[in-house]
Amino acid sequence: MGSMSMLTTDVAVVGAGPAGLYAAIEAAKAGAKTTIINEYVEPGGQLTKQIHKFFGSKEHAAGVRGIDISAKLLGSIDELKVEKRMGTLVWSIFHSNILAIAHNGKSEMLRANKIILATGASENAFAFPGWTLPGVMGAGAAQTLINLQRILPGNRVLMVGAGNVGLIVAFQLLQAGSEVVAVVDALPYISGYCVHSAKIARAGIPILTSHTVKKAYGEISVEGVMVVKVDNQCKPIPKSEQDMKVDTICIAVGLTPLVELAWLANCRFTWVASLGGYVPLYDDKMETTVKGIYVAGDAAGIEEASTAMEEGSIAAISAVESLGLMTQQRAYALRAEAYERLRSFRIGPFGKLRDQGKQFIWRERQKYAERI
């Protein structure tokens, strides 16, 4: 039978990836009753399949593998007695403070004083003739198969997308035993970090920029792919087709913030192409236009694990400050430190673009506040 009373908590964190774990730790440290909810049975989000070492500064766990960062964070979660609800779906949000959750065929309502949405992102699809054939999959899906489930998705792989996800997963597929035939990208340049593209180049895998997929073919699953060269308008160049015999096509053409719950809660949104699409408006406390609802990590605009962790902290610090569990002065100081670390990360051509995206969101948030 369904429970007769509502579940309650101080801070509910949706998503147990880097942003969510940091948020839960920060909230629990301040003494808030904290509940962390995760759709997948195992917490850790993308960290659990990141077998490569992080780089950057020491504060951002440079030199540590994602999977080891995750294990450490999970240890803290348990130490701080954060209530874990894994394998649990959040299927709606009501009155801006009630989460409708479902676990093991049972649905319950969880009332939270503060909600932090750290729901991450979903992979963008790429539609070409043959994209529904078995063997075409997201690069993230392939990474889950090899690094979590120890299943090789195929023997000969084409990677579509030379951003960081495409480059990293292409290399990990190679490590797992697949042959990576090529990495293609419609852009005239490689958009991922040099440290990742260099590994691909050293392995002798061609990175074909200004190339895209024309079609995939096969009887019951992928048997091959026609790759075509494109001009700077992304139009295919006639007679430039190359036939590649592959059984797997991995798609790494970007991510979209996964923010259905923020839409349901009536948060205001804006479109920021550099951050992956529609992003909820939020202020420097990561609070959305709906009081008590915060966002962090990829749900607040596509970035990286390191920035997601900082945003998770900022959201939780602000939430516990608002609950009266932390003084304004202390919250202000901690946020300033976090923003200092974020600044050191949001440099370089990629970082700058994201920094501009974030500032655009704050300005839009400000405009919205002035309107109401």
Binding site: V90, I98, S107, M109, S122, P129, W131, E260, W263
Partner: protein, 102 residues
């Protein structure tokens, strides 16, 4: 680069690019209308795969940028759930003294 009318866009509801263009030709003006008339984005994944693709086709067709159009509306449940599971939670809302209606 989506130019094949036969191309399946929404895999859950098996909606092709041609079907999306057809309802637009017949007068669907907003993305919500396109969604309701074709069911693109109304299947098991609730548009997590095709939402962006449908939007691209729509934008191309009306000659607008994503920031200039209205996105489709989200509705609960945002994850596929058996009705039995959904129903098991209703009682707890109704019996809550603070319940003000959904």
């Amino acid at each position: 680069m989506i130019d094949d009318e036969e191309l399946v866009i929404c895999r859950c509801e098996e909606v092709t690019k041609g079907e999306i263009l057809e309802v637009m030709e017949k007068g669907a003006e907003t993305l919500n209308e396109v969604k309701r008339l074709t069911r693109a984005g109304m299947g098991l994944c609730q548009g997590r795969v095709c939402r962006r693709l449908v939007m691209q086709i729509y934008c191309q067709n009306v000659g607008k940028k994503p920031e200039e159009i209205k996105p489709t509306k989200y509705r609960p449940p945002v994850r596929p759930l058996p009705i039995e599971t959904l129903a098991s939670g209703v009682k707890s809302i109704e019996l809550d003294p603070d319940y003000e209606g959904i």
